[in-house]
């Protein structure tokens, strides 16, 4: 099998996969390195990549993060089960598509307009995109292929993506469960020992330590919280 779509970095302004002759897979099949293969073959390769490469990460998109449809609950539960079976797996969400100015928190989230920042900063070598709208997934996957050395897996609820190394189409909760089973199978074949552990929560979430705050932390607004000369503050909220 010749690899048409390879792990990057393929360089600035890469040739798009469709122009290289990659076609979307028919129903029941999948894409692996731009070739149409059986779904299981693609899943096995993706599982191997997730289990053997550094910092495997799942990027859930808005379609699975927000409770907008009935099937979201099943899908999100299946994604978390899958993540718990991959050693050292992290979840970095893509909650929406707005550009992040002035700076994105690369540890906490990924943005479709500059996904390479999150991937390069976290040294991610294998990732799964799931629940990202197709038009943004295409853009993001090509950007990742262009600028990073990350193996991309696209789990698409529709027709799949040419730009990903492994693209699985028509993914719903049951296909995620199937993928999880294949991950466990491949893990056992490779002899990797792992106990089911949930991925760590978002690093931006731990509460701030208000006890160590000083007026200096309030910058130009510190005058508002400091008592004035001769003023005695008795009431405390």
């Amino acid at each position: 099998m010749s690899k048409k779509i390879t792990v990057g970095p393929v360089g600035y302004m890469p040739q798009s996969a469709p122009s290289m002759g990659v076609e979307l897979s028919p129903e029941g099949k999948a894409l692996l390195y731009g070739n149409i293969v059986e779904e299981e073959e693609a899943m096995r390769d993706a599982a191997k990549a997730l289990l053997t490469m550094n910092n495997p990460t799942i990027f859930p998109g808005p379609q699975v993060l927000w409770d907008w449809r009935e099937d979201v609950a099943d899908k999100s539960a299946a994604i978390l089960d899958l993540a718990s079976e991959i050693p050292n797996c992290k979840i970095i969400p893509m909650p929406d598509y707005r550009p992040k100015y002035p700076k994105i928190d690369v540890k906490a989230e990924i943005n479709p307009n500059h996904p390479n920042l999150t991937i390069l900063d976290n040294k991610i070598k294998a990732c799964v995109f799931i629940g990202v709208h197709c038009h943004y997934a295409n853009l993001t996957l090509r950007m990742i292929r262009a600028g990073t050395s990350c193996y991309t897996v696209a789990m698409c609820a529709m027709m799949g993506h040419e730009e990903a190394m492994a693209s699985i189409r028509d993914v719903h909760a049951d296909s995620i469960v199937k993928f999880k089973d294949i991950v466990i199978q491949v893990r056992n074949e490779l002899g990797i020992e792992h106990t089911t552990t949930m991925p760590p929560e978002n690093p931006s979430l731990p509460k701030e330590d208000w006890g160590s705050l000083t007026p200096a932390d309030y910058g130009e607004y510190r005058a508002l919280i400091m008592s004035k000369k001769g003023e005695h503050v008795t009431a405390v909220e």
Partner: protein, 267 residues
């Protein structure tokens, strides 16, 4: 686009970034206006907080007021076009659509009609927010025709009297004689009468103001949105100075807005 889009899937809440969790817990979505709104700014998570605008930008302040005044943020769509404003508007936690230069009102017409067909039982607000260039120069025909057609949405013009984003060219809304970086001889003709044009074109509610008072500014925005829901096009022409191109020192921006209010943005 609806309240469901603001509720995270239960299992995923602990994986969301802090910003989003706060928006869900303390944001204005699904709350009464009396609990949120401009009067309570600072006590809840606002829709737009970080933005890349210049220091002392009066426009970014007004954009904050716009988003704090929305009666139904979960059912609102904003449409903008090239210019400084969209840099902050696109940061808000409200769906934002970016039009090609000047076609924001044409797009808003289509979106408003589509919403009325798709969600006949729900009230969706469409607001176009663009600068004076996008609204009165390059997008002039599309703005006027949307008003002539009596399209039911709100148009807000952030008038900074200059093309601030591209280096200081004069715009149709610059005052007569304004000397700018790219018009060294000064402007030859006066400000376009945007308010009169809007009234003639059939807007049901038109305001021209310099937003020095938060409550008045908010009231005008909310009135414009309510009128647009029921009656027809509404227009707010608001002075939001460009302190970079007009060389206004940051501490004097408010004073400048007050002066404008007295001189040209009053009856």
């Amino acid at each position: 686009m609806s309240l469901n889009y603001m509720i995270p899937a239960s299992k995923f809440k602990r994986y969301l970034p802090k910003d989003y969790v706060e928006l869900v817990d303390y944001g204005p979505f699904g709350k009464k206006y009396s609990e949120v709104g401009v009067k309570n700014m600072g006590t809840y998570k606002e829709l737009v907080e970080e933005h890349p605008m210049c220091s002392g930008c009066w426009m970014s302040y007004y954009i904050k007021i716009i988003f704090a005044s929305l009666p139904n943020p979960e059912d609102t769509v904003t449409i903008g076009t090239a210019g400084c404003g969209r840099l902050a508007i696109s940061q808000a936690a409200v769906p934002f659509i970016y039009g090609n230069y000047g076609d924001q009102n044409a797009m808003a017409s289509g979106i408003t009609r589509a919403f009325r067909l798709r969600f006949p039982d729900r009230q969706k607000d469409v607001i176009t927010i663009a600068g004076d260039g996008g609204m009165m120069d390059i997008g002039f025909s599309m703005t006027m025709h949307a008003w002539f057609r009596r399209e039911k949405f709100t148009t807000i013009m952030l008038d900074n009297e200059v093309y601030g984003n591209t280096g200081g060219q004069e715009s149709g809304m610059s005052v007569e004689g304004a000397v700018l970086k790219m018009s060294p001889k000064g402007k030859n003709f006066g400000k376009m009468p945007a308010m009169q044009l809007a009234i003639t074109a059939g807007c049901v509610y038109v305001v021209k103001m310099s937003p020095t008072n938060i409550n008045k500014a908010s009231k005008a925005i909310r009135r414009a949105i309510f009128a647009a829901r029921n009656l027809g096009p509404t227009f707010i022409h608001v002075y939001t100075s460009c302190n970079i191109e007009y060389s206004i020192p940051t501490p004097d921006v408010f004073r400048d807005a007050k002066e404008k209010e007295k001189r040209s943005f009053c009856i």
